[in-house]
């Protein structure tokens, strides 16, 4: 089935008589491309990191305050004596008794109860907080490296899941529209023109305004419900082209049902379009998630993503604490560059006609 797109010539010069599938041929082309393999290695490394972090093997304790506030990276060394003295003085100031002007503090009893309770339970308080960390610490003394790993987990997961959902939605609608044509096609096209006439970011913001609850699920839904249009258009065109091909007519002749023709016969032949769209989408969605979280419409408080890290880092930069900004930007830039280069190579490998 899927060998249809390989020409006899390309098969002839392979030694074996066995026909190679589209995917095997694409993989061979991809392997010959050094840039593609390098970027694939980077993407796979990020995915392994994501899995390890999601299963709690690494970065499990990212939320612990292992360093002092804004501990600088080890290479730079700890803050100078003056800074330390200043922060100690500031800390000492907090403990000076407050003048209540003769009024008894109504919360005094409660507060002492809370304090004794805290003193009993907080074993962690005794731990010495480091003055430097390998890549510095944030406002609460959390290790930036672990925080970045956790942030990558959130951002990449949102990108992948939203891309998968939007490609599934776009493919389903595109398949139905291109395969059946007629009034179904008209109706879905009308739908498509509505979604494309509203700029993507505006639609995302409008949906974010309406969905009041923040959370990973709502951001995935926002992105996938607004991002299906590109896939829809391409898949629809492919189905319109394929529906008149001989193999579909043959499937029709042996009595295959519509569903079977659409998804068992035609889909394997257009699935490369969906795959390329999906990897394009992952990059776009990661970028959108970062912007949404930065604005505060994305991940909830307590969840860290590249966007929320950049949001904190914006203010830290003025204080001279550049490490969190650097970590989040570099992690994102490396992944997105690798993913984009890989997507380009994937497109060339799956559709050699384009390259000529």
């Amino acid at each position: 089935m899927s060998t249809l797109s390989t020409t006899p010539a390309s098969l002839a010069h392979t030694a074996s008589v066995r026909s190679h599938s589209l995917w095997a041929l694409a993989w061979r082309r991809l392997r010959a491309d050094r840039v593609a393999m390098l970027s694939l290695a980077v993407v796979v490394a990020f995915l392994i990191m994501l899995l390890l972090s999601a299963t709690g093997v690494i970065a499990k304790h990212w939320n612990d305050d292992v360093g002092v506030n804004y501990a600088p990276p080890t290479l730079i060394g700890p803050d100078t004596e003056d800074d330390v003295a200043a922060s100690q003085a500031a800390a000492a100031k907090d403990t000076t008794p407050i003048d209540y002007y003769g009024v008894t503090d109504p919360l005094a009893a409660d507060m002492t109860a809370i304090h004794t309770e805290l003193a009993k339970s907080s074993v962690e308080k005794t731990r010495v907080r480091q003055t430097t960390l390998p890549f510095g610490a944030d406002k609460w003394g959390r290790d930036i490296i672990q925080k970045t790993i956790k942030g990558s987990e959130t951002s990449i997961t949102v990108g992948l899941v939203a891309a998968l959902l939007s490609v599934i939605l776009g493919t389903l609608l595109g398949a139905v529209s291109g395969y059946f044509g007629g009034w179904i096609d008209d109706a879905l096209n009308w739908f498509y023109s509505i979604f494309t006439s509203i700029p993507y970011l505006l639609l995302i913001l409008a949906v974010a305004a309406v969905l009041q609850q923040k959370g990973i699920l709502s951001i995935v839904l926002i992105l996938s419900l607004t991002g299906w249009t590109g896939t829809y258009r391409l898949i629809r065109a492919e189905y319109m082209k394929h529906k008149a091909r001989e193999y579909v007519l043959a499937a029709d002749a042996i009595g295959a049902s519509h569903m079977r023709k659409m998804f068992v016969h035609i889909f394997p032949n257009v699935s490369h379009v969906a795959l390329v769209q999906m990897s394009l989408m992952v990059v776009n969605f990661i970028k959108s998630e970062v912007i949404l979280s930065f604005l505060g419409f994305g991940v909830p408080i307590g969840v860290v993503s590249w966007g929320s890290m950049l949001n904190e880092a914006k203010n830290e930069l003025i204080l001279g604490h550049w490490w969190q900004m650097m970590a989040a930007s570099v992690a994102m830039a490396v992944l997105v560059t690798a993913f984009s280069l890989f997507t380009d190579a994937l497109r060339d490998a799956l559709d050699p006609k384009l390259k000529s």
Binding site: W190, F191, S193, I194, F195, S197, I198, P199, Y200, L201, L202, L203, L205, A206, V207, A208, A209, V210, L211, Q212, V283, K287, V290, I291, F294, L295, G296, F297, W306, G307, L310, A313, K314, L317, I318, M325, S329, M332, A333, L335, V336, T337, F339, S340, L341, D344
Partner: protein
């Protein structure tokens, strides 16, 4: 021509109606009852009922939809829920600052990317070409947020070349003082994707027969590139520039937010933060309308650029 324009305008009506229904569905059905948002924390059933009557949300859905359609047509969306300013007034006053940034930006961006794309396309396959393409890919993968934060920090805060943020009353000061850094950042961000795209458009043309013919009859390389090739590559370039215009109006929101420019984008962000539904609804509907009008203008421009294009 007139017949063509009229027919295209007529065809916009169903799409526009669809946009209105989508927005209506989002804000009136998914969004829940706005009376609770408006009434605030301390409310009574009478207040809620009163607000519902004022907004018309106690009416059946088809009546509410009709109210919304009337609002769109008469450009009367009532007042903003958070500031009490009339929504029409909000939109009209925010468009000026947005355009002050966007018009120079679009012109510069198009000129620079087209020029660079022509240069790079000629050097196709050489080291220069590969270096520029890789630089574009890397440049595109850095978040726009990082560009804004770093540029604002270094150019405005550290080196004081540009103002950190602000906006004035007169066009001269806005354009030549406050807009410079925002435009510079947007240029840095937008040239990389444009350059990549325009390069492929030009590469499609550069091996055509007419280029060979022009060379054969002794036309200079520069003239071939800037007159013959460019004119033919213009159609996809125009499509790209025109279709990006309405999107830019909104996607400039980050820049407007960081630099305190009172434009449409910043207004949308503020409205989302304050759950100011009338403003978001109005902006969305009119930006969608602008997108359709710009699509029509693009098609009209085609026939001006390429006499072979027949508008039917």
């Amino acid at each position: 021509m007139t017949v063509y324009i009229l027919r295209r305008l007529w065809q916009m009506i169903p799409t526009m109606l669809g946009v209105i229904i989508l927005i209506f569905f989002l804000f009136n059905w998914v969004g829940g009852d706005p009376a609770y948002i408006l009434a605030g924390k301390i409310s009574s059933p009478e207040i809620i009922a009163n607000i519902r009557r004022q907004l018309g949300t106690d009416q059946p859905y088809y009546v509410q939809l009709w109210i919304f359609i009337k609002q769109v047509i008469t450009f009367n969306f009532g007042v903003s829920w958070s500031t009490g300013e009339s929504v029409a007034q909000v939109i009209l006053t925010r468009i000026g600052p947005s355009l002050t940034i966007l018009i120079p930006l679009t012109i510069l961006q198009t000129l620079i990317s087209v020029a660079l794309a022509l240069v790079v396309a000629v050097k196709r396959g050489t080291l220069t070409d590969r270096v520029v393409m890789i630089a574009c890919t890397v440049g595109m993968s850095i978040s726009i947020l990082v560009y804004i934060i770093l540029f604002q920090y270094w150019f405005a805060y550290k080196w004081s070349i540009f103002p950190v943020q602000g906006w004035g009353d007169n066009l001269g000061i806005n354009l030549f003082h406050y807009s410079l850094l925002p435009i510079l950042i947007m240029l840095v961000v937008s040239i990389a994707p444009c350059l990549r795209l325009y390069r492929t458009f030009i590469l499609d043309e550069i091996h055509q027969d007419y280029v060979r013919t022009a060379r054969a009859k002794g036309v200079g390389e520069q003239r071939i590139l800037w007159v013959h090739v460019l004119r033919n590559a213009a159609i996809p370039i125009i499509t790209d520039v025109m279709s990006n215009l309405p999107t830019l109006l909104v996607s400039a929101f980050l820049i407007e937010n960081f630099f305190g420019i009172p434009g449409i984008g910043r207004e949308v962000i503020l409205a989302v933060e304050r759950s100011d539904f009338p403003v978001i609804k109005a902006v969305t509907v009119y930006v969608a309308f602008a997108t359709m009008i710009f699509n029509l203008l693009t098609d009209l421009l085609y026939s001006a650029v390429d006499p072979r294009v027949q508008l039917k």
